[in-house]
Symmetry: C2
Subunit: 196 residues, 2 copies
């Protein structure tokens, strides 16, 4: 039997963690970005398909390319964050299944089945996006996920020549807690769940 993780860890990844919009002017090391990927990639995906692809937009040059593709209200948050990660998913994920799922011919389940490819890539790439958020928090980082941007334009600018599609953006770094709003309400258990 395994016990629950300690209360401080649970607070850090879920109960007290908040989405941040304001950022301390403090760099994020490349080493920490590598650690983050090496943690989030261990989360489960169906047939280990692992479709998530990530670009960490960190330099001023890369931020300048991303900025005009965001909703105006998201631009200053992205610019102030040490790094903005573009979370994408690869529609050609199944090409890698012989490597990732070697004990079965899982590639054949997908080839030519565009609806299944699209749904599997989006579902599992999004699961991995959530693992990314939680893994960042587990490492002591703050996150600010955002979906207000021009997906097609981001695909053209950052994923050209591939079949990777952008999913959402996630600012990461060290949040400025003094700028937080009060937390928004959540549903009660009975409003969203039942045991049958």
């Amino acid at each position: 039997m395994t016990n629950a993780i300690d209360a401080a860890a649970l607070d850090q990844i879920f109960l007290q963690a908040r989405t941040h919009n304001a950022w301390q002017p403090r760099e994020l090391s490349d080493e920490l970005q590598r650690k983050l990927v090496d943690i989030m990639k261990m989360g489960p995906t169906s047939a280990n398909c692992s479709p998530a692809r990530i670009i960490f937009v960190k330099s001023n040059e890369a931020k300048a390319r991303l900025k005009p593709l965001l909703m105006e209200s998201n631009q200053p948050k992205m610019l102030a964050a040490p790094v903005c990660a573009i979370l994408g998913y690869d529609l050609r994920f199944y090409d890698h299944l012989p490597q990732l799922f070697p004990h079965d011919n899982a590639k054949a389940w997908f080839e030519g089945n565009d609806d299944l490819i699209r749904q599997t890539a989006f579902r599992n790439g999004t699961l991995q996006g959530a693992y990314f958020i939680i893994a960042a928090r587990a490492l002591g980082l703050d996150t600010g996920p955002m979906s207000g941007f021009d997906n097609a334009a981001v695909d053209q600018e950052f994923f050209k020549g591939t079949e990777v599609k952008s999913n959402f953006l996630c600012n990461i770094g060290y949040g400025d807690a003094s700028e937080l709003f009060p937390r928004s309400p959540r549903f009660s258990f009975d409003e969203i769940a039942r045991i049958i």
Copy 2:
């Protein structure tokens, strides 16, 4: 500055956690299912839209209704697990935005925009599905997510009369670690990510 959570917690939620297919014959308390929802619901969604809806299939009667809707290879795993959660997402999530996101008229962003509704519900419902998996692990439970089932039939059987759509299933309980396969390989950082 916040530090990383301790190594044991990180192992429990990501690095050593495994997807389980075999289950110890041990009940899962309703209290733990309530706790799980009260943790996972704290994870972030866009505009706090919180579209996930969950049915915990626990009784033999409910399992008998679910069984024929699963791929044959998934049936024994579901039957052996103490509980199989149906993770769904509500296409009418925006009706609740006045409650969940009271400081703006977010409901108006979605009304009549079916593509945005569908994409927002699926993306955020899936993020919440990942929070569910990680929250279960954080509580000391094992999980076995599955997507091999007839979604339309599950919607008809369990979500009739609503606009909730099934996303994926997740067995939860206490896994039988003796039945685990070796862990499948993961990509290296450079195969899926870059810093620009």
